[in-house]
Symmetry: C2
Subunit: 193 residues, 2 copies
Amino acid sequence: MSPRSGRRPGSEDTKAEILAVARRLFAQRGYRETTLRDIGAAAGVDPSLVSHYFQCKERLFSVALEVPLVPAEILDLLRGGDPSRAGERVIRLFLRLWEGPPTREPLLAMLRSAVSDDRARELLASFLGAAVVEPVGTVLEGAERELRATLVGSQLVGLAVARYLLCIEPLASADPERLVAWIAPTLQAYLAG
Amino acid sequence: MSPRSGRRPGSEDTKAEILAVARRLFAQRGYRETTLRDIGAAAGVDPSLVSHYFQCKERLFSVALEVPLVPAEILDLLRGGDPSRAGERVIRLFLRLWEGPPTREPLLAMLRSAVSDDRARELLASFLGAAVVEPVGTVLEGAERELRATLVGSQLVGLAVARYLLCIEPLASADPERLVAWIAPTLQAYLAG
DNA sequence: CGCGTAATTCATCAACTGATGAATTATAAC
DNA sequence: GTTATAATTCATCAGTTGATGAATTACGCG
């Protein structure tokens, strides 16, 4: 009787939904603790369908990691406009990326997995190197340019970890404008030397 | 013939060595990716011996996490001495803890596991809350005391992640004194308001 | 309608995990 | 010396994981 298996009527783009669910779970729990069965269950789908669409878990993960951030954007941000406000522009871009769920989830997944998975760590490190440290470093002037660029990165990573990952109060619920007010000067100090 | 099983001659304090190995592996790979078999192998010992000494993996982990840091120490650090140098004292204590392997490893393990494991995350969050944010918050003066305390925490966590966990250059190899020079003013700004 | 193709589930595999209880051996106490 | 005790390994379990191949069903095109 009850036809359990076989194609389901209607319900198009299950693949996209699987990806969305995977992204959410990877962001919440990281790579290792997210199982294909979890993803399947959360998507209301057999786990093997996940394997079917994305071959293996790693490939699904790498697809889920794709982050909509162009390094060039950061460079423009630094060069354009008032140099004495570069720090403010950077923290604003950062918050804009992290406050929006569609961009936050891949970032969270990346961060969360980078600390336990070596591949993800190298991915994030090289991403940060190419997307932040290097461009920022070349734009800066004065001594210790690259060190200062990584210091900017350290404050931003720390904010991401404390606010979005560990959810430490009251930082986690603080108004973004308050964060801009406090952190912009820090970044500005690192940027200006 | 070859007596494989049974007690080994000599070789005292295997338990301590197992713990040391576990600490190292937990720090390197985090909780989930460190298997009891890995620990046993690295300690040159049967995996079941690990279970025997520490009952279960979680208990071993919690023992490995014990971190030699008294919250009161931080309070004294803030209150004692020149208030305009409190930031410098904080970053110096922080670096002292992280530069020494015996204290770095539990901290790294804690940090690494906190991002993927919920129990470890709550552990770290409550630890940070009780050991850093709250004491620091009560000592501070002016508006947004607690937010500023967590901002201090965010810069420190970011430094730990970027330097010791992701190993982003040139921050990872930078001379501690350089870090003090750059970061002390940041912390001072958060502390002083 | 009939047929190919894509979507989906089912059953199942081998590998690995943490844990347990029994068995074996060295050390310490008497 | 005998004996209790602690140290250590072995064999083994049940659970979970990612992956695969076959089977079942719906859709689209002719």
